[in-house]
Symmetry: C2
Subunit: 190 residues, 2 copies
């Protein structure tokens, strides 16, 4: 996280963050993205514009922060009792969410207002946490599991790289193909 955001959870700092984020979401829903300005967000959130400038730098960084928060997973990945099914289900859902128009917009916003890379790092950390849960469960069941970095490199990275750098459609079978390649091709033989 950037120094501006290394604030104690709870307390006034957390309340300011929550009210400013809520103001951005409400104004965006009511008036559209193009209408957003720092003074407008500040008035809606009940803070001064300088509070926003001091904490977020500018509107683009604030929008990036809000986008990252929207990319936070709402629940742990589903447990289907088998590594391959869990990875397939998670990868399909992850792709569906990230490739949706809101998902693409959040990803674009997250990268656009991110001068030190901390917001991109947080996006990646969310995916890595979900992957870790899936792999830990599989290991607990006694399944052979790939290294988490293998999953990030060969399942998560190709999907996000295509979303950011290579225009074109991707579907659930693409996500399943990455899982197949990773589990069959990249794991050490049993």
């Amino acid at each position: 996280m950037s120094p501006r955001q290394m604030t104690r959870p709870g307390g006034r700092s957390a309340r300011v963050q929550e009210s400013v984020h809520a103001a951005v979401r409400a104004l965006e829903a009511e008036q559209g993205r193009a209408a957003l300005t720092v003074p407008l967000v500040a008035a809606r959130a009940g803070v001064t514009p300088s509070t926003i400038y001091r904490r977020w730098g500018d509107l683009q960084e604030l929008l990036s922060d809000v986008a990252v928060e929207r990319l936070r997973p709402e629940a742990p990945p589903a447990d289907h009792g088998a590594l391959r099914t869990d990875l397939e289900t998670w990868a399909e859902q992850f792709l569906e969410e990230m490739a949706s128009p809101p998902g693409r917009a959040y990803l674009r916003d997250a990268l656009a207002g991110d001068p030190d890379g901390s917001h991109a790092g947080q996006c990646s950390a969310y995916a890595a946490e979900q992957v870790d849960v899936i792999l830990a469960r599989a290991a607990d069941r006694g399944e052979q599991v790939p290294d988490a970095d293998i999953v990030m490199d060969h399942i998560v990275a190709p999907m996000i790289y295509r979303l950011v750098f290579r225009p074109g459609p991707m579907d659930a079978s693409y996500a399943r193909g990455l899982v197949e390649a990773t589990l069959s091709g990249l794991m050490p033989p049993r």
Copy 2:
């Protein structure tokens, strides 16, 4: 490419682009990034500020355009007479260039001023062109070659994903490991 940039090669448009890009590079080298403004670039390039605003939108998009141009490969990949060696050598060099401080800055700039994704797409197209040359040479020699999408997904994507989303060092052995995984694990058996 965005509509603004679908201009006929050669002629006035190309001369304007070249002089504006050269002005950005010169001013950045002399005075540093923070000093750049559209009026300053325009004066150095001998064009009006409105020429720059009309063609590039704003300073961030201009800097993104300049960054993409700097990421253009200068030569075809080296030919060592074998697919694995060619891919290893290219992947190591690609990683070294992209992970260098200037490479990271160009990649960040390219993504920051890219509202329609066309600059990111051009970065990816440069890598894909180099990969295509390597694969076509190997096929001409009678070697079995992976699909170009496999190389993009499992060699290029992991490196770029880590550069953008996952802070941390990467070295030549990481690039070679991706080639190994791709050729040994992901290619159909002979």
